[in-house]
């Protein structure tokens, strides 16, 4: 064997090593991504591995139909593997939020990569067939193949995922694949037809993957943006939550931790219903407390009452209240309510704040997130409502947003039961907010009777004496039909009802 032959042989074996590593990496990337995006890692990994191996089988089978220009084909396949495998995770991240049939795309990518990778080794063996004795050939090719696989399986979890992330990992190996193709085209340009074309396409591919590599962060953000229906116009992570604002032609929406808080299309329905039944029943609502509600929309409604002297707003997240005091788009929405001299903003934990509070209020508006976890559940407990009662003047009224009485009647009436348990009189009501569905609120007061709803300010978009009457009646499907537990810190009954009811609803 000549020296040149020998060099060529080692070059091709190095190629085996690189492509084996790349091949396994694509498989691991697909498995990891599928586990992450679809959950259930065991199922995802085993189906991905199965489909991948099977596709490699198809590739090996198809290899017999390649009879001429083997090296050129091999280089083409390298470029193709580099293209499909390299862009696979970026593509999957982008299509996940868009495509209904994400699984189809996922398995298609796995199938194509598998077939191409399956073609590589048989073709390569045939290229080397005439240069090396068969016994030696099989031994060398497979040794390099398996060592490459071992390397891939080790560096993937230890180095690549933690340091590069999935998108850059697959791009990196795409670049390697294409690099091998380019190098072979360059090295064997004499033996290969159209070597120039191959080299040129390899370079274009390399460049585009490098660009993609550099901008992979942007792809992540884009993918996130696509999870929401509309354009994300603002997003930030605070120590407490992720705030995302989206916009389309008709409306602006606020999401906290992925949950819709309001849409400008119908938020007036929610905030009018939250505020006016209480305030229209008070003859002189001077001192007002708002817990939660950092968007300032409830405060906007509250400031429609001239009697109001001071509004104290307690919201945990300074980023929220700052955003809704500074951003023009948002201050237009809340009429700059948070900048009104009557309004004082405290960024503090509501429970702790109320525990230390000495002031008595005429009205308290409680606008917390739904009781979807044990931490928030504490804000709906007897202990919290004791504090609330204590902070109310005897003739004062508190109102509590209390989730959907249609989706979660037990949860809704559990809030009512809990308020009654601390000796408050309650009035429950509900209205329809298209973005949310049927929504419920409960007013609570230490002392009956009131001049209920006697001074509704005009003009409002939703609330008037007639709609109010409708809001006070509950049809059968919004009742609990059972005796409910009182929500206490040591039983968290509400969180359990809430989880049971909402998960049943979302399953449908």
């Amino acid at each position: 064997m000549s020296k040149k032959e020998n060099g060529a042989q080692w070059l091709l074996l190095t190629a085996v090593f690189v492509i084996a590593t790349c091949g396994l990496i694509y498989e691991l990337v697909a498995g990891t991504l599928a586990s992450y995006l679809l959950g259930d890692s065991i199922t995802q990994f085993s189906t991905i591995i199965g489909v991948y191996l099977f596709s490699m089988g198809i590739g090996s089978f198809l290899s017999k139909y390649f009879s001429k220009n083997l090296l050129a084909w091999f280089i083409r396949i390298e470029l193709l593997v580099g293209l499909v495998g390299g862009f696979s995770s970026a593509l999957l991240f982008i299509t996940f939020p868009l495509a209904a049939s994400f699984r189809l795309i996922l398995y298609a990518i796995v199938l194509i990569t598998g077939i191409l990778v399956g073609l590589e080794i048989p073709l390569l063996m045939r290229i080397l067939e005439k240069k090396v004795e068969f016994k030696e050939l099989v031994s060398r090719v497979f040794t390099f193949d398996y060592i490459g696989a071992l390397l891939a399986s080790l560096i993937f979890p230890l180095l690549l995922v933690p340091h590069l992330g999935l998108i850059r990992t697959s791009l990196f190996f795409g670049i390697l694949n294409v690099g091998v193709g380019w190098y072979l085209a360059y090295k064997f340009s004499g033996e290969v037809r159209q070597a120039g074309l191959l080299k040129a396409s390899a370079i274009i591919l390399l460049l585009s993957q490098l660009v993609c590599f550099v901008f992979s962060e942007k792809i992540m953000t884009y993918s996130e943006a696509m999870t929401y229906d509309d354009n994300v116009v603002y997003s930030t992570s605070t120590p407490y939550q992720r705030i995302v604002i989206t916009k389309n032609k008709h409306e602006l929406r606020l999401f906290l931790n992925g949950n819709l808080q309001f849409s400008t299309a119908d938020e007036y329905r929610y905030h009018e219903a939250l505020v006016h039944p209480t305030f229209s029943s008070l003859s002189n609502p001077e001192q007002v407390l708002v817990l939660g509600g950092g968007d300032g929309l409830a405060v906007r409604e509250i400031l429609k009452y001239p009697a109001v002297k001071q509004v104290t707003l307690v919201d945990l997240d300074p980023a929220m209240t700052k955003l809704f005091s500074k951003q023009r788009m948002l201050t237009m929405l809340n009429d700059s309510s948070l900048l009104n001299p009557k309004v004082r903003v405290h960024n503090a934990d509501a429970f702790t704040w109320l525990r230390n509070n000495k002031t008595k209020f005429d009205a308290i508006v409680v606008d917390f997130p739904d009781p979807s976890n044990f931490s928030i559940g504490k804000l709906y407990s007897t202990t919290f409502y004791q504090l609330l009662k204590h902070a109310l003047r005897p003739e004062g009224i508190a109102v509590i947003q209390s989730t959907s009485p249609y989706v979660a009647p037990k949860s809704f009436w559990c809030v009512d039961t809990t308020l009654k348990a601390v000796g408050l009189h309650t009035i429950a009501y509900h209205n329809y907010v298209p973005s949310f569905g049927e929504w419920g609120y409960i007013m609570a007061t230490p002392q009956e009777p009131h001049q209920w709803f006697s001074h509704i300010p005009a003009p409002l978009k939703f609330l008037n004496p007639t709609t109010l009457q409708q809001m006070l009646t509950f049809p059968e499907d919004m009742k609990a039909h059972q005796l409910l537990d009182i929500n206490k810190l040591n039983n968290q009954a509400l969180v359990k009802y809430f989880e049971e009811e909402w998960s049943k609803y979302l399953e449908r």
């Binding site: 990891t32 933690p162 040591n490």
Partner: protein, 536 residues
């Protein structure tokens, strides 16, 4: 939404995360090993002290500022006693109810909860009322408990068969036949809870000495818990694990060593009932029983002398002399007193009294179980499937008792950092061997043990721990072996000496509980008062 953080941590993927955890373990975890002043304590054993340099006179000296000593002092103070000192070798009073704190919250170093008190313990419930734990007046038909102090839900969870389940009684993945045995066991405990002896007393009461002496029940003090389970035909491994967990948890003693009577007492002596709580509820605070100790301490500050190691007590001509080593001044000082309460463990009492017979007796009859308690400061941890993070988090078949989340009783939202208190009774080998091994273990070794244990339920724990501080309790508590609850040894060791020297410590109560310490102190204080009034 959480995509990016996922990619950085690849949380939730068992396939790869175990690889990662093992390589991230190299990050250095801060902290140190603290032993309940074992250095100072050992002076008692090893040092020959010079003659005392100063002498003062006091009516009463209390040695030991654990719950027993503090309870005695409180009672005496309430009786108008003012010429009194309390000596303790530690910087803070509290003994096994010690606690610490950082910017996240307080946390316990030892005792961390008490169950709802039995309603007949009026002195104890009065104390609970005084510190705001009971909010209703004494004449209310049932006491109302302050809801900030009743353990919040979710209270307990158990990691079993690959999942967190609610509660500690094994349920998830347990075969029906074993579930039946577990139910039979629980029914039996309920029957014991309401059982009364021939003498009309509760079969199982708190304090232990209020229990019936009916041999039907006291016979159970002759065998171990494991033997008794066996007699009942309860062979279920899940049940055995559960019972063993409980006896390790409360007494640092395995079920094959503990007296069956005491083992049952754990389940059957709790009978408390409130308007808003039941016997299975517990009262707890971020700093654990340190919170109760703080209330006991409130009015007693003027009497405290800390870092005072009592070295010798002598009785001559009807006078007591108490010599203590002032650690700060490094000098021996003397107090002449009329009455003294020894509220220290019995192995210490023997040494202080230079009483060879007592030392031998203690050595023969009492074993002390060593414990390790670690406080872990950590970021939010990756969770396995099943029930949510609870106050008490236990792993089935682990050598440890799991961990208690000290921040659980906080009401604030969105606190990501936590203090986890990890409990490990050292029951593997004999107490002597375990104690020796524990003292030799380095901080790194302890951390590795903890991480290896918790790694099963929080695969990313190694990367998220910021600090681990370890406390070694060499002689944490006396083991309630068969024969101690209803034998004679406690009486022998607890008898007052010449009506001047009295004993109060949970060693003498038969089991180590807050209530027992409270009544140990109270009873000793009453003895002192009787003596003082007799002499006036």
């Amino acid at each position: 939404m959480r995509r990016r953080s996922f990619i950085q941590s690849i949380a939730g993927l068992t396939v790869v995360s175990s690889f990662l955890a093992s390589c991230q373990r190299q990050h250095v975890i801060k902290g140190s090993v603290i032993g309940a002043s074992s250095h100072t304590g050992h002076l008692l054993r090893d040092k020959n002290f010079a003659a005392p340099v100063a002498t003062t006179e006091h009516d009463i000296v209390i040695v030991g500022g654990g719950i027993s000593g503090l309870s005695a002092a409180r009672h005496l103070h309430r009786q108008g006693i003012t010429n009194m000192v309390i000596l303790d070798l530690e910087k803070e009073m509290g003994g096994n109810a010690a606690c610490g704190s950082n910017d996240i919250s307080g946390y316990p170093w030892g005792a961390h909860y008490v169950p709802i008190p039995n309603n007949d313990l009026t002195a104890y419930t009065d104390f609970m009322r005084e510190c705001g734990v009971i909010t209703s007046p004494p004449e209310a038909p049932l006491p109302t408990y302050n809801e900030y102090y009743i353990c919040f839900d979710p209270e307990e969870r158990l990691y079993i068969n690959g999942q967190w389940q609610e509660g500690l009684i094994p349920q998830f993945g347990v075969p029906d036949a074993e579930k039946k045995q577990i139910q039979q066991f629980l029914d039996k405990m309920q029957a014991f809870r309401i059982a009364k002896g021939e003498d009309g007393k509760d079969a199982f009461a708190i304090p232990l000495d209020n229990s019936s002496k009916d041999p039907v029940f006291t016979a159970l003090d002759q065998l171990t818990m494991k033997e008794w389970l066996h007699q009942q035909g309860w062979t279920s491994p899940y049940l055995q694990w559960y019972v063993n967990y409980c006896t390790r948890d409360d007494y640092g003693t395995t079920y094959d060593e503990i007296s069956a009577w005491v083992g049952i007492q754990y389940f059957a002596s709790r009978k408390g009932k409130g308007s808003n709580a039941d016997h299975h509820d517990v009262l707890t605070w971020p700093e654990g029983n340190g919170w109760l100790a703080a209330h006991l301490k409130k009015e007693l500050q003027p009497y405290f002398r800390n870092e005072a190691l009592v070295a010798r007590i002598q009785e001559e001509d009807g006078k007591l002399t108490i010599d203590y080593f002032d650690v700060k001044e490094s000098r021996l000082k003397r107090i002449n007193a009329r009455q003294c309460i020894l509220a220290v463990p019995q192995f210490v009492a023997g040494r202080i009294l230079h009483d060879e017979a007592r030392i031998r007796k203690v050595h023969q009859h009492i074993q002390y179980s060593p414990w390790m308690v670690a406080n872990i400061r950590s970021n939010a941890l990756d969770e396995r499937t099943g029930y949510a993070l609870s106050w008490d988090n236990v792993i089935y078949d682990s050598p440890s008792l799991g961990y208690v989340e000290a921040t659980h009783q906080q009401v604030e939202q969105g606190k990501k950092q936590k203090n986890l208190t990890y409990y490990l009774p050292l029951t593997g080998k004999s107490p002597v061997e375990e104690r020796k091994a524990a003292i030799e273990r380095t901080h790194t070794e302890w951390v590795k043990m903890i991480v290896d244990d918790l790694d099963l339920v929080h695969p990313d724990i190694a990367a998220n721990i910021e600090e681990v501080n370890v406390m070694i309790w060499g002689h944490a508590m006396a083991r309630p072996l068969p024969g101690t609850a209803h034998g004679t040894i406690r009486q022998e060791l607890g008898a007052s000496i010449n009506d001047r020297l009295h004993f109060a410590h949970t060693d003498l109560a038969g089991n180590s509980l807050f209530e027992e310490a409270f009544y140990q102190g109270l009873t000793a204080a009453q003895k002192v008062m009787t003596q003082l009034s007799a002499k006036i």
